[in-house]
Assembly symmetry: C2
Amino acid sequence: MPAPENLESLFHPRTVAVVGASDKPGKISGVIMESLAAAGFDGEVYPVNPSREEVGGVKCYPTLGHIEGGVDLAVLAVPAGVVPGVLEESPGAARGVVIIGGGFGEAGPEGKELERRVRDLARKSGTRVIGPNCMGLYNSSAGLDTFFIPREKVRRPPAGGVSIISQSGSFAITAMDELASEGVGVARVVSYGNKLDVNEADCLAYLAEDESTTAVAVYMESVTDGHAFVEAASRCAAVKPVMALKVGRFGAGASAARSHTGALTGRYEVYRAAFRKAGVIEVGGYEEFIGGCKALGAEKTPRGRRVAIVTDGGGIGVGLADSCSEAGLEVPPLDEYVKEELAGEFPSYFGVSNPLDLTGSVTDGLFAEAVEKVLDGDNFDMAIVAALWGPPGLTDGLAGLLAQKAEISGKPVLVCTPGGEYSRGRMGLFRERGLPVFPSPESAVRAAALIAEVGERGGLKKGGEG
Amino acid sequence: MPAPENLESLFHPRTVAVVGASDKPGKISGVIMESLAAAGFDGEVYPVNPSREEVGGVKCYPTLGHIEGGVDLAVLAVPAGVVPGVLEESPGAARGVVIIGGGFGEAGPEGKELERRVRDLARKSGTRVIGPNCMGLYNSSAGLDTFFIPREKVRRPPAGGVSIISQSGSFAITAMDELASEGVGVARVVSYGNKLDVNEADCLAYLAEDESTTAVAVYMESVTDGHAFVEAASRCAAVKPVMALKVGRFGAGASAARSHTGALTGRYEVYRAAFRKAGVIEVGGYEEFIGGCKALGAEKTPRGRRVAIVTDGGGIGVGLADSCSEAGLEVPPLDEYVKEELAGEFPSYFGVSNPLDLTGSVTDGLFAEAVEKVLDGDNFDMAIVAALWGPPGLTDGLAGLLAQKAEISGKPVLVCTPGGEYSRGRMGLFRERGLPVFPSPESAVRAAALIAEVGERGGLKKGGEG
């Protein structure tokens, strides 16, 4: 396996060339240049196109070789057939290359042959390649963004600790967009597509040592080299949580994954065994992937599986308790001491147990006090708060109070606020104060189960080698 | 079991009294009067309060007995201890009563005793009672709304075919609010709380014969009379789909359910057996409950379990196929004939299989054409469409075209558009055209599995007795 530092020019380029640059509206190359500008990339950007003098007012170069000193990263927004020529005419002029276009291995034997030619050329010149058939790279701290979907359609997440590596480009952008709308920060996103060079193992090895990355979320359809994957995933999982979604697990999905990026997918059981061996936490689908990123983005993990449920909706509380049991979380009774303390201060009709039902008479203050009391001491490892907004005593001030109590406790507090527009409009209040917030009880429980598993494996702190 | 027509005065009252009426701001009785007005109730509303001459400019009556001819429905917004007196002083003056307040059976032995007294009084005068400890009734076609949460916090759904009966009031309003925001129409909502008289079996028997109700969704913690429940649920499920969420299934949840409405909950296995016997479709939680209401609200059920997946995001398509397999749905390959037809019209790099991946080169027209072609003939029973909005060829026009093709096919087409703000902002386009739309692949699959089960049991059409 190549040393991860070789990937530095890809993840942290100082100079980026866009090959196939054009200012015709709607051209992919134009969107990429806009993405770089919008991301605040402050290195040099060089348009490359033999048939143009300038692009968008910037001097255009005929080939990569014409750029003095070459570039750290070249984004190739040209048709598949043109790619070998670009590499051949200026060998080594780009230390790293992203090949955006499709029409390679996923398109049949000719495409596979094209892929082989590109791989040979890149190896000869020591160039690292991401793609083809991909979106490339997003690095929130380096202002790097090669994703060719305009920002009005797909928002980019703020800077944060979660890094995503994805075989599917559309999965990567959908997740980025959803996380951006959820206010979850990310460090790096790699859409690696057909992985003719850089694959999931390379990315994991790189992210293991990347200081900005506190957790890694992987979407994969296939693995290139099982041994290398387990080695890199183990190395990464030893120092930060690694969560993976393997799709193409069953019948139709498995065949679809094969045709999607042209890769062999292998048997699902083998993946499961590899994940287990490497200490990778498997998630079952898109919802769990997003929820997991939200929970990991909040950067707090519990020490165990004991959940305190605090709510002002009795029914939702009961449902939460069921979901926790189903997800392998524990919902132990309240300690007698806590019970007495709460019973002394709360009206007699409050259901002082776990779940703790504060009823329609709840206020912001009572909600916060309840969370503080149950999380004090060593009876619980985390709390799930289900806030329904009907009670007149609840205001927008709840989020700030709960965030304070969560901070004091040092334990994760996950919030869910099921309901319609009013509830949905309140979610941002929790998010802004660092509390992960979910639209349904089940999504909160899935995330709680995930961070419980992370906690059991040593939490989010960067520890020693495992 | 009392005949369901006895409940007509509760569900379709012509005259409603609000006992405990007051125009002090923030009073529950005031919100109820506002709810009735906002719902467009066009019968008479009588405030009742011995210490007032008028409320909000309307003449106030000292007791129910002072209203000439009595009322169909009296909503009692008075403290628990006052309730027996209200019934005693004007026996039979109200044909139906909703008791809003808590402090009854759920509050201990004294409350249980109070409940018994009220039950005796009601029986003597032939008065049907909903509650106590509940929200009461919502009837979208009769302009009836006794729910005491203001509409700015909890929206009310438009008129439609789904009826909800719920032991938990907060669950009922949360679901109503979410369904309103999702544009799902409902017929009736009953929050029946401690059910000292009217219980789940009575409601099911009533809704079985209610012509506005095309499907019933039940939230329950306990059952009053197992035999009566199975009989009523069977009668209802024979003519329209009945979906039930039983909470308090496990350890902590089961204890919580007991204390929540003061009812015995019984063993979960017994419920499962009862659901099976009655033909009730069980759902596992809030998410499935809401998703099920959305799917049933669209009023189309498939004839079988064969799903065509059409998407412009390869990765999401693969994940959808996995989820379908896990949910017991089938994702069979495309017929050779359809494959050739599509291959003739689509670019060669489209993945012409099932899932059908239209890639980033998709347009509204190609998406619609693909859905039309795969649903034509007898190879599939329904389609799940996953629309990702990155491709420049996709516009807001997609929803209308897809709705047309769904209409032509006569088969259910479920849409999911995972992602952030742009995607979320497009959901209404599908909704408005009658296509059920979901925020994640998994939520679409859960709903597809539910309507497949409904389809197997004879669909949504009102059939003969089962």
